[in-house]
Symmetry: C2
């Protein structure tokens, strides 16, 4: 079988018809919740509640089992007690269901009987060809399809659409555990592969390499079952889009914890590091970086090189940003003579990189215009490949004018930009972040992470060049 | 002169009488703003506006200069054009003003004439004995005294009082650049020493060592002018309270940027590292850690050792937390037989550390009680020195019951605790953070930083033991 064929996960991520096999108890039933979430998120395909105790659920005809539906089903979402799951999957396979996502817990991660049940699942997969994601997974969010598989109450009804596929081995990636909407992560897909009894990171890489909505893959991994397959799939993906990896289970204690949670076998850290290098993956070093670093790839053009312009509003922050930039592999750009001339006309204090606009903004009468002109000068410099631009977002009334300024600034420019918001009112800063992200501008409250994101962008360009050789 | 005598900064941090020498223009004048801020923050001492063009400012009698006041003045806040500053400081000194905080910019950091003016200031300090903080500083916040020296609009009127002294070389530490209130940083003092023409980090260490409100000193530094003095002062402070240092200007480019911002001479990174080791300081590695790590020392008892209990709500997060804990110098505690027995009675899935409460909480009917009992069991284990406890704070209606649970839990317990909040609604999570901090419980949304804070607490206990030998 060709790579990419077996890995076709479209039935999981873009189903036309979903069977929900679960409790349909009014309000609290996990199936009832799942269907409610699908409707709230605007899923437009067909939904079949499967539960023998109901005739109708939320206005939909309910069926005793999938064999009764009599229409093609792409995806079954299964949330039933573990001992019932193998027979249900068997039945799904025989009814032509293409894919099953098993939310239920207490399989291999619980050991004993659970591990035995998971082995049964693997056997069914091998024998029938049905694809299974999980068990022990919160599943998928695909905002383009209005798809959400989480069976719990979700307090929001949409997320920011964007280019990042967030893949993980834990439900901690899911919509109930993360304020996906409030942080405005630019999401193409989120996915928890859970215990990986069948679908794993290799399938994800193959599928996401071809997914037009996905511009970058961020992957949290505790283990890799098939190292060669991973490297192969990654090397097919990386020339098209970056792969960022956050490896958990790096320490012995962490690896032990991993074994008891998804029965993963985290291995030698050096082996993983070498595999990621061969794969062309960029490692991120924290859960926060896993979420924040890929955002720069969602909407920004790639930089031509690693020369950064840093525009701060205080000298001290400029120094910290410079350290982080250099440690992230960037070099501080030397402004051209022409740029220096333009900047000197505004103020001799602006003619350094990092450029500190604070002194001039605090006294200038036309501060907005000077800020825009200063940023434009830095962005237009031929020695500048990418830029980190500070903005004061600490007051509600500044949100709209600042967002408009950045949209105007970036209209005819194609440098890679991250925006770093600081200020005194956190809700205003977060609202500015959301509005900028909605305009395709990655904005950060943690400016050191913003620098790391630019560093990753520059690093990816290098990796792609290495791959082309 | 004895160490600690010359370093008495009480006139800066706890003044009874302040002269504000600045523009008093209605609404926008920097002096007018300063006085407004002082009143908003509840400053109860005397305030003397100094400006020859006004008879009265905000209902206060205004004076042409400090010599006219005729009452003792502890602190002069000076915000006038640089060329006027030396004469003003000279006049302050001759009128018996004890301390002057120079907010004005464009001194040494601007080079040329500014550098010359700063040399004049240094000469006046040497000759007259007046103490000067700055120039180029946003100054101080001391919530216990209602003191705030920032001359710009501040959108809040108080901050969370607590035990952390946040010291910096940049105005980026100040109330207009940081959402101090929204993040509920537990503040004893904040201070920007600016260009350090006189008062520097050594004075701060000497003063803060004796400050009863300060339980931990967090210090952002670009350079140290007097290495021996720093080590000496730190070694006096560290046996009493921890010193956390965030060093900026680590890279060559960062050091260059630093020189042009406060004329600091950042030096060899290895020299600094060795100095910090001798000083007994704990290094933090980012601006975010500078703010977040010290919070654990504000209200929590010190741990007896480095054995941590990690309670998560998803296995995946537990693995990530474990990695971070180990990398921060903690060891994962082995629960005692008694604890394991207690936990096994609740669920066999709880008998590991990291303890994943997710599976049981998602099915238990009495989830609140089980959570409280599980946390109590972990905290009471004799093999546990400190604990990181996850809480679901993603929904508004959970804020109060969860805060009450933690307050109840910690009432008769004295282990070092950090709380890690996750969920789907950011405003609710942040409100929970504020409410927990108000109860003396350090709560984190970034759980990896929470682990680093516990690591710093355990490290400090080690350092203190080394010092006692």
């Amino acid at each position: 079988m060709q790579a990419g064929q077996r890995s076709d996960l479209r039935h999981f991520f873009e189903p036309d018809a979903i069977a929900v096999i679960a409790s349909m108890k009014d309000g609290s039933g996990l199936g009832y919740r799942t269907i409610t979430n699908l409707r709230n998120f605007g899923f437009r395909g067909r939904i079949y509640p499967i539960n023998p105790y109901y005739d109708e659920v939320l206005g939909l005809k309910s069926y005793s089992d999938v064999t009764e539906v009599g229409e093609p089903i792409d995806l079954a979402i299964v949330i039933t007690p573990p001992p019932t799951v193998p027979a249900i999957i068997e039945q799904c396979a025989h009814s032509g269901v293409k894919a099953a996502l098993i939310v239920s817990e207490n399989f291999a991660e619980a050991g004993g009987e659970g591990a035995e049940l998971q082995r049964e699942l693997v056997e069914i997969v091998r024998r029938t060809g049905i694809r299974v994601m999980g068990p022990n997974t919160i599943g998928i969010v695909n905002p383009a399809a209005g798809l959400i598989t989480a069976p719990y109450y979700v307090s929001y009804q949409n997320v920011q659409r964007g280019g990042v596929a967030y893949c993980s081995q834990t439900g901690f990636v899911g919509p109930t555990a993360q304020p996906l909407r409030d942080y405005a992560y630019p999401i193409s897909k989120t996915c928890d592969v859970g215990n990986k009894c069948d679908v794993n990171e290799v399938d994800l890489l193959n599928y996401l390499a071809d997914d037009p909505d996905t511009r970058v893959v961020a992957m949290h991994l505790e283990d890799i079952r098939d190292g060669r397959g991973f490297i192969e799939a990654a090397r097919r993906l990386v020339p098209r889009k970056p792969l960022l990896v956050f490896k958990a289970g790096r320490t012995e204690a962490g690896a032990r914890a991993s074994a008891s949670h998804t029965s993963s076998l985290a291995g030698d850290e050096q082996v993983y590091d070498s595999a990621f290098k061969q794969a062309g993956a960029i490692r991120v070093r924290s859960w926060q970086e896993f979420w924040e670093v890929p955002r720069v790839f969602s909407s920004q053009p790639l930089p031509r090189g690693n020369r950064v312009a840093i525009v701060s509003h205080t000298g001290g922050a400029g120094v910290v940003a410079t350290d982080t930039a250099v440690e992230a592999g960037l070099t501080v750009a030397s402004f051209s003579a022409e740029t220096l001339e333009k900047l000197a006309e505004m103020s001799f204090r602006l003619t350094t990189n990092p450029m500190d606009m604070g002194p001039i903004l605090s006294v200038a009468e036309n501060a907005f215009q000077i800020q825009e002109d200063g940023l434009a000068a830095a962005l237009d410099d031929p020695n500048v490949d990418c830029a980190a631009l500070a903005v004061y977002g600490g007051l509600e009334q500044l949100v709209s004018p600042m967002v408009e300024m950045f949209v105007r600034l970036m209209q005819n420019r194609s440098k890679t930009v991250v925006i770093w918001i600081y200020g005194m009112q956190l809700p205003a800063m977060q609202e500015m972040r959301r509005q900028l992200e909605a305009q395709g501008l990655p904005a950060y409250i943690d400016f050191e992470t913003a620098m790391k994101a630019l560093g990753a962008a520059a690093r990816y360009v290098e990796i792609r060049r290495e791959f082309e050789r």
